[in-house]
Structures are given as structure tokens and as C-alpha cells.
Amino acid sequence: MAWTREQMAARAAQELKDGFYVNLGIGIPTLVANYIPEGISVQLHSENGMLGTGPFPFEGEEDADVINAGKQTVTELPSTSYVDSASSFAMVRGGHINLSILGALQVAENGDLANWMIPGKMVKGMGGAMDLVAGVKRVVVLMEHTAGGKPKLLHRCTLPLTGAGVVDMVVTDLAVFDVDRRGGGMTLLELAPWVTLAALRAVTEADFAVAPALKAA
């Protein structure tokens, strides 16, 4: 039984540690904010220049000058600070953001990531995605395991890359993988309930090892 989007978000949220500075991408990653484990405090970074992004405003309290990188209205927290875009990406590029959780079109077993363009389709641009995957210390991809029945976890990405050798972990609706971006390949860490290893392999092109703990289970 595949995990729901909420369950995927909750699983990714377990990667958060107390005191982390975290950038959440658009889509399923946004849901992670709802599953921050108890006793843990993190600051959310919006690459348009806000550190300490709060929840959506109450109706009528929207401020056009307080938006996140998805251009959604958000709110301030007591810890919030604002910086310009160069300073905001200095946080990213300088390795100051502990964790980035983002979506993907394809991930390869060597940690390559593609999530910004499909040749032949109108290209909207990479926004801050290339900076985030290149600069953030740890990158977790949160995505459906397949698209239209086709594997998204591949030997090599076929779409233009967002970053080469940048992914550390992949959480899909079927499984959780560790990715060694230094050439050590992918390792299956967790399987969704009732999903067999054989069933997983059938929808996964990428090669992966199986973690000893999982084999034992």
C-alpha cells in the first residue's frame, strides 16, 4: 500500500533536526511544514529573501510584501529576518542551509537530479532550484515513485539536469532510499507497507542495494 502525500511529507520531516535551517520546495515538500516533529524547532528559508517563514495569514491579513518563493502570502515569526536575493543565495551557496526538500522529475542512482525542464515543452526556468541542489548541505527528494507508470528513479537521467550528484535521499510513495552522491550508489532504507521488494524493483530502473536492517526485517 503506497504512502499518501501526507505520509511522505511526515517521513521527510523526520530528516529535520533541532536548529536546522530548511528550504522546502513547491508541491509535496510544502506539506513537510505540517509534520515538524515535536520538540524540534527549525527555521524555514524562502529564497526570495525571508528567513523564518511563518504559516499562511488569516483571511484579510495578507500582506503583498510578505511572500514565499512560491509567491504565496505567508506571515512573519518573532525570529524572522529579511535580506536581499544575493544575501539569501549566499546562505544557500555558502552551505548554511542544512536541508532542502524538493520535488523531482527524475533522480539517477548517482545522485543526479532533473526537475526543471522537459525538452519540447515551454521552459519556465529553473528559478532557485539549481542553486539549492548545488549549495544546500543535504538534499532530500520527495516525489511519486513513477510518472504515468514509468520509473522516475533511473540509471541516468534522460532530462536535462538541475544538478549532477546532488541528491542524498529520496522519499517516494513506495520507498525511502539513501543516495551516496560520491559514487556509492543507492540503498533502499524503507518500504511502504505491503510493498514487496520485487514489486518495487519492477517500477524502479535504478540499481539499488538493500539496507541490512531492511533485509533482516
Partner: protein, 237 residues
């Protein structure tokens, strides 16, 4: 008496600096912190074949979208141009050129241009199409791509408040690309919501010192659009 930087309106503030084919930096992220009234004045100027350095290209009827409507734009240097149907049409018709830059690279290129740095190295884009045709070099075992500083003939920006010296402060996430662009153009024109007397600012709070600002326009009225209105429900007490 110092040079007067305060102009009566946006058209006056852009007089003599707009010409066909020029490169213009325009501040803002989405529709937040964009120089709306200066964009309208550029539309009124009728200047054509413009190249814009701007993170986004506006929406169909807002931001730089109004200059796409009027077909005054030849090229965009941006990181993301979704949310704009006119853009897509003109691009697919071959009327509009686009140079995509990763958002952080774009911000840093502008900052470098303003700081007299002609080129710098960044990890962003290594191993992607962004690095094609650019020097890639290893430092301490990691690969980096060389990116160039970016300058423009004109920057149009939006700030919250200015004093007559051109010292500027910004409001919340409306800061975004505006401060770097102020530093990276031959002429910087700013529209502001409030013009305050000299000495009103705490000098520790000034984000853009007046040295970077050539012309100031005080807006008569300020209309700020929200692109993605997202709210949460109040829980009844």
C-alpha cells in the same frame, strides 16, 4: 546645494535615459517589489528592442508583462518566466529571446557587476546546460563554473522609503533584487512609497546608500498585487 535627485514623476525621472535597444535591470520577485510605475513610464516612452534583467517576466497584465503586451522587449535575462501566456506566445513565435540564469547566480552576477567583480566561480549549474560554453575549474577538489558580473545602462527599482540623498529602505520581501540592481547600473531610478526628510533614517537601518541612487520618484498611490493569495481559516473561539 547638492544635486537634486527628486523628480516630479516617473516620466520625468526617465527622461533622457531611455533609448531603443538598451539593457535595463528591473527589481522585484514575481509581482512583489516591482517598479510598477516606472514600467508604465517605459511603456509610455515607446522604446523598443529592450533587454531586461529581471528575475521574472511579470504576468499578462502586470509587471514586465505590460511591456511584452506592447512588444517592447527583445530579450529577457531571468530565472523563471512562468505565469505569463504572452511570454510563451512571443517566445514560441521567435520574437523574444530568453537567457535563463539560476536565481542565485543571477542575483550574484548583479551583485558582482555592482561591486566591480567581472567574474566569479560558483558550484551552481556544474554538470548542467548552464555550464555549457563556460569555464569549469576545480578548487579544493570541487568543480565550479565561472559566471560573469552583470551590469546595465539603467536600473528601475522599487523601495519603501527614500530621503532626498537617495538613501533607501525596503519593506519585507519587497527587498529581493532591488538593492543589488541599484548598484549595477549606470543610472538607477527608484520609485518609493514615501519620501522622508533627510535625517529621518537611523543610519544603521539604511539598506541602499544614496551613492547608488540617481533619481527618485515619490508614488502618488501604491497598488500592490498578490499573485498567490493563500490564507488559513480562523478557528472559531
Amino acid at each position: 546645494m547638492a544635486v537634486n535627485k527628486v523628480y516630479p514623476d516617473a516620466v520625468a525621472a526617465l527622461a533622457g535615459v531611455i533609448r531603443d535597444g538598451m539593457t535595463i535591470m528591473a527589481g522585484g520577485f514575481g509581482l512583489c517589489g516591482i517598479p510598477t510605475v516606472l514600467i508604465e513610464a517605459i511603456r509610455a516612452s515607446g522604446a523598443r528592442d529592450l533587454t531586461f534583467v529581471s528575475n521574472n517576466a511579470g504576468v499578462d497584465d502586470g509587471g514586465l508583462g505590460v511591456l511584452l503586451q506592447s512588444r517592447q522587449v527583445r530579450k529577457m535575462i531571468s530565472s523563471y518566466v512562468g505565469e505569463n501566456k504572452i511570454f510563451a506566445e512571443q517566445y514560441l513565435a521567435g520574437e523574444l529571446e530568453i537567457e535563463f540564469n539560476p536565481q542565485g547566480t543571477l542575483a550574484e552576477r548583479i551583485r558582482a557587476g555592482g561591486a566591480g567583480i567581472p567574474a566569479f566561480f560558483t558550484k551552481t549549474g556544474v554538470g548542467t546546460v548552464i555550464a555549457e560554453g563556460k569555464e569549469v575549474r576545480e578548487f579544493d577538489g570541487e568543480k565550479y563554473v565561472m559566471e560573469r558580473g552583470l551590469r546595465a545602462e539603467l536600473a528601475i527599482i522599487h523601495a519603501w522609503k527614500a530621503d532626498p540623498e537617495g538613501n533607501l529602505v525596503y519593506r519585507k520581501t519587497a527587498r529581493n533584487f532591488n538593492p543589488m540592481m541599484a548598484t549595477a547600473a549606470a543610472v538607477t531610478v527608484v520609485e518609493v512609497e514615501e519620501l522622508v526628510p533627510l535625517g529621518s533614517f537611523d543610519p544603521d537601518h539604511i539598506v541602499t546608500p544614496g551613492i547608488f541612487v540617481n533619481r527618485i520618484v515619490k508614488l502618488d498611490s501604491v497598488v500592490k498585487r498578490i499573485e498567490q493569495r493563500t490564507v488559513r481559516k480562523r478557528v472559531a473561539a
